[in-house]
Symmetry: C2
């Protein structure tokens, strides 16, 4: 948490990863993000991972620091409440984030009638508006055929990455897009609809990283090279104590340090002569990667992780241990309260665990302890009073008619 | 490209993926991003992938739309030029993006003496300032042990993802951070130093997605489930024509559509009775994933990709084909000029290929054709004249003394 975006208010109607991550990211920089959901919870209210008691760790992770409004989105009164909230007057208001199909009452054209300078961010699936999720985008992009063990040119044995990377990139891109549009509105008074198709995020990044040019210019395509870093030298090694480490030599200095600290300079120089390559060139390190690994692997296999760490510490060798999620939590000070990124936070119904704030450290907005996720509808009354000026009696009527509700513990 | 950030100027001293991607992302929204590099090119000037002639497709991809200044960064005169450029007067100026170790002349304290409201974004490796790259961060985060074929709980056979996902997320996060700081400066007049450690980006996202809570609350950790989607149902299938597709049922509606369109409703209902589970629950779909796949796989194997597409088109089934990079370029209209995201751009020394613009579609800033990457030092004279008011004679002296240079074609 920090307060760099103080004064900005975003109404979020969203589910799953990309759009809720966008809202959470803005909330962690101090924006007031109000997420609305149906009275029984949104599509992602029970999403895995869950606790033994069925509480969603996913919800807790992607809704940190937001306020929650539970509302019957099918009732005309509920819809009118939401339109009023989304288009509320005030300089910091009038920002709507959604990944729902938006037509009718929630469409930009309808909302804009009530606030002309509305900023609406619509995260969609495909550029034509059809649905797509991280998994159906990822399979189209080429990466699964080059992930995992090498298998030649045939497109077999696809390996999906597990991180929903496209969702994550899209979520942060949407947050950036909202800030760009807010700047534009501040300078010109003009609002707008912004569309961000998940598939375009993925195709654009794939192009940015050179994969399309490899096909069209080089008339070739990347093949799997296992865990080898492409285009320079990077490889995983087993240690004497059955751990794994990754060592990288992208720059010439990283290569020279790896040669020096392993004491294998002489052998690696012989290897370069043998293969007629120049290891000062990153491409030559890639071409000779298997031979280099054959020289380096025994060195790693004869040493424990601790021994390797003692040899590499404070040098220019770029390396790190592989860790399971449990090892990461148990052993890595970067994943502990020693790192100001993290705080122990108690999440109602779940318990206390390490919760990350924003990785951005603004010196003009001090780091604060991250805020937990809300219960469904935890802020229903507060939001209706504060933003729509409703009285207790008015809210009472809405509650009696089951137009609004909460707080609810989702089971 | 679009012009939503018109009027913003960023000076970039950076290399590799995260920070150059940040600059490129801002440039594609219309910011004037001036990247400086040494006269012989930066550390990433020759980075792979490269063309047969050795030109870097990587450089072309991550520096689109920037202006390039080639300068001897070791000479006092070159350093003074850069300090003047970074701290130039003017409301849109005074934003510096870097991932270099910044001490001495390039340190925030030094730069701030010349422009108090400077915004400086420093993308670092580890939170303690030590070096880390995507590959050495990724191995620490747990994902490689849950990627690829299932192998039980033992942390063996790590599989790295190939997409530099942490770099990509960090690059966009840095762009968002700069816009947040620029908003703060506009409102308060205050500049600042922002730090963004790559490792914190990764640890934070891992926490956001619930992996840390699984360890600390559930006392367990995620295991590899191959290409299965975690927590609901998603699986890859082979087709009759030896293609692969991915089909997903995260929501109940997606599940019902998959059952209906495959005509396997009856069998899947029998399966639910047999296993005593309720497929309306996403978690039950995950628990019974292998049995579900046993029912669905023959259906896919008996049909070609075309046949499957005809059956699923226009329905609520969420699915997509796996494609290699070549298939993506050859067959997918989303990766063609049919998609306004892409334009055919001629990159000097490389040739013409499909280049993506920004995936963000701002209605208040029309989509423009993306701009190619500059040659090293292509804008040296232009930048010195425009920003530092230098005369031809002054620039001539700097060129003669080899303080500035370019344009240069990197070989």
């Amino acid at each position: 948490m920090n307060a760099i975006l103080k004064g900005l208010r975003v109404v979020e109607g969203a589910a799953f990863v990309a759009a809720p991550l966008c809202g959470m990211t803005l909330a962690q920089q101090g924006a007031d993000v109000i997420r609305f959901d149906p009275l029984e919870g949104g599509l992602d209210a029970r999403r895995w991972p869950v606790t033994a008691g069925g509480k969603s760790l996913y919800w807790a992770g992607l809704n940190k620091g937001k306020r929650s409004l539970a509302v019957n989105t099918r009732s005309p009164e509920g819809q009118e409440l939401l339109v009023a909230l989304i288009t509320a007057a005030g300089a910091g208001n009038g920002i709507f984030l959604t990944n729902f199909p938006t037509s009718g009452w929630l469409g930009y054209d309808n909302l804009r009638k009530r606030r002309e300078d509305l900023i609406m961010m619509n995260v969609t699936g495909n550029p034509d508006g059809s649905s797509a999720v991280d998994y159906t985008v990822n399979c189209a992009i080429g990466f699964p055929f080059v992930t995992g063990p090498p298998h030649g040119a045939a497109p077999v044995n696809p390996v999906n990455h597990v991180l929903p990377a496209w969702d994550a990139i899209a979520g942060v891109t949407a947050a950036m897009g909202i800030l760009a549009a807010e700047r534009h509105r501040r300078l010109t008074g003009e609002g707008q609809l912004i569309k961000l198709p998940l598939a375009d995020v993925a195709f654009a990044m794939t192009g940015n990283l050179g994969y399309i040019a490899e096909v069209q210019v080089n008339r070739s395509e990347r093949r799997s090279s296992g865990n080898y870093l492409f285009g320079a030298y990077g490889c995983e090694f087993e240690t004497a104590d059955s751990r794994y480490v990754y060592a990288v030599a992208i720059t010439r200095r990283q290569w020279e340090e790896l040669c020096k600290m392993s004491g294998l300079e002489g052998k690696l120089a012989m290897l370069a002569s043998l293969l007629d390559v120049n290891f000062a060139k990153e491409g030559d390190r890639f071409k000779a990667r298997e031979a280099i690994s054959a020289v380096l692997a025994p060195w790693f296999r004869q040493r424990t992780l601790d021994e390797i760490e003692q040899i590499f510490r404070g040098t220019g060798v770029c390396w790190g241990p592989y860790q399971t999620f449990q090892q990461m939590v148990a052993d890595d000070p970067r994943c502990s309260t020693e790192n100001p990124l993290f705080s122990m936070i108690d999440q109602p119904g779940i318990g206390a665990y390490l919760v990350p704030g924003s990785p951005l450290q603004f010196t003009a907005a001090a780091r604060e302890v991250p805020k937990r996720a809300p219960l469904l509808g935890e802020h229903t009354d507060e939001v209706l009073t504060e933003l729509l000026g409703m009285s207790d009696a008015q809210i009472g009527k809405l509650r009696a008619a089951r137009i609004v509700g909460g707080p609810v513990e989702i089971e």
